[in-house]
Amino acid sequence: MGAADTEVGIVPHLSATQLYVKAAKLALEDAGITKDQVDGLITCASWAEPYIYHAEMIAEYMQIFPRYCIGAPAGGGTTLAMLHHAASAIVTGMCNTVLITMADSQVSGLSRDKAIEAMSTAGHPQFERPYGPPIPAFYALIARAHQHAYGTTAEQRAAVAVACRKHASLNPAAQMRTPITIDDVLSSRMICDPLHLLDCSLVSDGGAAIVMTSAERARDFRMPPVYLLGTGEGHSHEHISQAVSLTASAAREAGERAYAMAGLGPGDVDLAELYDCFTPVVIIELEDLGFCPKGEGGRFVEGGRIELGGELPVNTHGGLLSHCHPGHPGSMFSITEAVRQLRGECGTRQVAGAGIALVHGQGGIMSTHCAAIFGNRQV
């Protein structure tokens, strides 16, 4: 019933906490309700301004007194999964109106170098970190394994970055808006072979929030409702050196569970907002979410198929690669974009006739997956 983003990119005039609360205010205004009507609050952890009881701190800061209050400790799949925690709380009567607000200030509050070093602590302290892997190294291991198994090319990975940037060029809010070519990606600095700089997502400030309630109540509010039709999770490991597979992910189980709940399949999806912390992730997600057979993801992204006007527009706001990536909140911008697309608010980047959107988040190192299917009608 409400969805909004703050300004994103480099936002030095707002602290991390202020970004959470500004996103919340904008989403409440979009929903047409006051903060006193919120009785459930969900936030994610912040690195720039951490609190042990983060959601409680935001409630205190806003002076709201929810009867349901929870903070998501980690990003990507976990933060996206907060959708169904909120839905469950509403369905079981724990609360009626949940505000999910997530933000961070990784550039202005933390600094780019500190953010990158902090992220690398995802590696196991004894069995991974002594080898010095930055986050791109973990995903480079995945990219090379996929390349070896299926012949996926650097040009195909680059096509993902090109599509996201093309969409960001049509999004005035995006952090990086200058169109790029496949050659630009391939000639950008090598970070961790085979991943170039432009295969890697951004480091950003920003926040996004949504307001959820039951389908019945949603009809009474200002905006036409967007429905959460199905959602599912899958979990395979935490550390990449413990992964069962480098080339197949638990996005498959997450997607199957979400499709089953929605009673829909990949062929029903008009647009997809896929977690794109690195380009090879999108290729594997397209396979595991059933948009193409295993191993065909590289060929699928060729020829503009995932661009606006293509068979399956992906990351119509520009994604983590070009719109913004403030860390834990990353998946939230996929939700707010899906809502805008399903309301038909996206102007030059609108997917014509968008009725069903799939959002996918992954966290850790291809560890934790959540898929969610939204529609502008109940099916």
């Binding site: 070093e117 302290p125 004894q126 002594p130 080898y131 892997p133 995945i142 394994a145 961790c192 413990q242």
Partner: protein, 136 residues
Amino acid sequence: MTAHIRKPLPAPTLETRPYWDGCKLHELRIQRCAACGHFQFFPRIYCTRCFGDRVEWITASGRATVLSFTIVRRPVSAAFADDVPYVVALVSMEEGPTMMTSITGCAPEQVRIGMPVAVTFEDWTEDISIPKFRPA
């Protein structure tokens, strides 16, 4: 040994102490379940296959093959700045488990998926030696 002093130094725990004691002796130790024969790494209190409690430490052969690898060009922190470019790899041990490591003893560009490798140890402090792999 002082070259590695600023790197993230492993802090052995109750559970991982036998592994690091082995590394100090230049032995690569993993666990084997005495009940079902399953080999496992990281170390755990129970067997991940039969969930039995008869896990024992054994010395692995140290032979492995490269499962995937990357050449790191931008170091994770200043402590690794002198090492770039360096190889971060996943190797599949002869016994079955996978581990993260570095490949040394050859140019980074010579590393290939499927390449046979053997363990070698880098002494970081008097107590901590880090297992790495070189072409076999």
